[in-house]
Symmetry: D2
């Protein structure tokens, strides 16, 4: 379980060991268990009671740092059978959709559960996520990933074709990560509270165009299409430069808000 305020590693804590060449392992500490790495074995018991930030040695003396993972570390390390959302996209989505403590949020599809974890973390103990997917296989993995982090109780998983609609109504926000989001906009509108937040990620420009068209037909306003790009630098103070290559595209983010009335705020004629 992810105890993000701990100073010392305890049984049940989600921890990260980082070894040479930044090879990393994220796992929960279980009494008497062993971690088998590419550079030797580490006993979970040896970690218990150690302060985070310490160095531990494997049985063959390879060094590892004991750390707490950040949300970003967890997402990048996640076991996955689908394409997952990147931290760069999730960070912006959470802010743009105002996700926070106590909210009720719906997502589809669950996929490997990366976005589910981010949403569950952001809504806190009093919030609630409903996560839809058609594939039991995906949700089984997502459940495992959620319980690794200790956030499974905040999420209700539902196996369903969302063409049939969502059970939840008046939710604060709804996020779609599906192939054909443009096919479900009436269902989305029936689920979000008026003025609530809709968000979506699609990889192609053709999908963006189709989605924008449907959002307009269904009176979503404040439409926004944006890409988030990360440019990393080699952290060398005397030879500072961007890395040679970068992730150039994950997807386009589309945001909109369902409204109770129609009104074109861009068009001012007659006033």
């Amino acid at each position: 379980m992810w105890n993000n305020t701990a100073k010392v590693a305890s049984i049940g804590d989600l921890v990260q060991l980082v070894g040479m060449r930044h090879k990393s392992y994220i796992f929960n500490i279980v009494e008497d268990k062993e971690l088998h790495t590419h550079r030797g074995v580490i006993k979970h018991n040896d970690l218990i009671g150690l302060p985070f930030g310490s160095v531990v040695l494997s049985h063959n003396e390879s060094p590892f740092f004991l750390l707490q993972p950040s949300l970003s570390d967890i997402l990048l390390d996640l076991k996955r059978i689908t394409q997952i959302l990147y931290p760069k996209d999730i960070g912006y989505i959470l802010l743009k959709m105002g996700i926070g403590e106590g909210q009720r949020v719906v997502e589809a599809g669950t996929g490997s559960g990366g976005m589910t974890i981010a949403l569950a973390y952001a809504v806190g103990k009093t919030g609630k996520i409903a996560s839809y997917d058609q594939k039991k296989e995906f949700q089984n993995l997502a459940k495992k990933n959620l319980s690794l982090v200790g956030l499974e109780e905040r999420v209700e998983f539902k196996i369903r074709n969302i063409e049939e609609g969502f059970d939840e109504t008046e939710v604060d926000a709804l996020f779609l990560d599906v192939m054909n989001p443009y096919d479900y906009i009436p269902q989305v509108k029936a689920s979000i509270k008026p003025g609530g937040f809709f968000g979506c990620l699609v990889p192609t420009t053709n999908q963006v165009s189709r989605l924008l068209h449907q959002l307009r037909l269904n009176q979503f306003a404040f439409l926004e299409v944006v890409e988030v790009l990360l440019r990393f630098y080699k952290p060398e103070p005397e030879r500072l430069r961007p890395t040679d290559r970068m992730v150039a595209h994950t997807g386009f983010l589309i945001f909109g808000r369902p409204l109770l009335s129609e009104l074109d705020l861009d068009n001012d004629n007659g006033k």
Copy 2:
């Protein structure tokens, strides 16, 4: 106060009115008060009890949408006397530093309080922020901005030159947004718990180089330098294209983690 799960506007709620050409007003509803806009007057009383997503008319019949602002809307709308962090940067910072419910976080400087609001929102009711600045003028504005959003109780403001160090120790994360972060790294290290998260934003490459140098001297590891770029598109389904101009630079983000021992994970010789 920002009630991010409300469906209907009530007295004391933080609301957003968006009028023609997307001109926007964010304020708390106060009984019997009036909002004077560029397109006429709106009585707060007329908003009370209205569902979010409704259209309201000013005294001269100009239409406005009644909405709840997202964190992104609040940050962009904030009254400011300093350069503020952008949502694109804040979103990534929060994920990368693992900011969440119940944490203790330190920041300096306070500036106009944009980052303070984001941190206070992310740590929830049980978290705590300490925010340092040398200028009383800045913190007075930041306090106003925090109380607009209703998050002032989560933040302790301190007027101090951080060269003297931070009162807090063993904090989960510390973020610097100051001119010369490289001058305070020992103080930073004394405040963050080992294995905790350090983050910083600086605008120039020269500052990045100097900061990286000091972080290494003080045994911070997992150094990362990154820029976040947003590329917006005109949301026109039949004429989809990036906007003509974009914000090309706000700052470089630098992250690192203070460790208990020194160890070069990139260099593998002897193993």
Copy 3:
């Protein structure tokens, strides 16, 4: 006339005067003429015989640098009544299409003649450009711009709807900068020599999709879609940083080559 190897300014030379705040004037030196600037008058006669790189003073003692313009300077300074191509795009187009000495190149539309100048410069004295547009008004301006630079003899202007086709056949390269390039691909194919170069700029993703579709139907291969982005830095050695804002989009460049036979080089089955 643009004499790109001169060391000293002479009558008839195309020169650039750059004054305070980088305000720039590009013109041909004419005996006894005067240049009226926002900071005083400069007599053309005073420039004759001056080495480039000199400072000259206007009648009220405002300083100006006497320079030869580069192709980039000329393009950015051009009098225009249409959107023109940017140097960033033109530079890549010329290389990608292999434009060089002695070639025959077709373009449509002429617009304000920016691309025409770049093509005429690149093909040298022995090359030949044919430039098509429907609007006489555009071509009149383009002609003026070409003659300012002294390259008008390399260009044949034709007022025509290119739906009727191009007069030239077997040309080395053809570039389209029109609203609906996808409507003229058979005409394009009839004009370019097999294996020659086709290039095009369009601003929207919808146009890219339509164009790609038509290029495939007409057996163009080696299709490439690319954007060129320039990121400028403030040239301050101690405070080096990207500029705050940038041109985020001018257009998508599409390249392809007409072939004599059909063949799918990406698909390897059966071999």
Copy 4:
């Protein structure tokens, strides 16, 4: 030899054969020679007289397209023992420095000769390039590359440490691609004509800062620092999207112009 206006392949012509999966071969046609590819043998004699754009089959019936390479194709295919400049950078450099017919241009270092080819192509038959390098090994390869393209007569190669200065004076333009360009600015200034063009590529921000500092000390004006970024799209009309990864950095381009007098055009005081 690169005959960029040919329609039919002849003995001595530089041609490109492109096979399955876009595997490409660039070479000069030599009577009775054979090309051995990963997919069979092709006789040069079979290419003679064929129109460009044709399909040819290897001895085992693998198809290849017969094409003329563009400058971009040649540069990317070049045999190299050093990092070479990319077409995206070269295209902008040529325009920005106004390189064209009949000019005299100096470059250092020669490297593998990629930039040399581009410069030699751009100055045409009447232009002249002087290319400096300290390593005979590099220049031998560069010579081979130049003669493959048939441009060797336009280039004079010199093996020299440029600390000793350049033989050429009053050249139209000078381009540096060396580790420590900031060490040679007086030598550069002595070689370029006043008002001429200086350009340089360096990979790190530290080098940019040092170079800007030296350029200012030596009265270069109109300093410009810029990066050129290419963003490619998958050319799929129904699934148009940027490629997943991209080249994020090759180098920073720095431009400036040596002047006869000192003058700060940004500072307007007293006027």
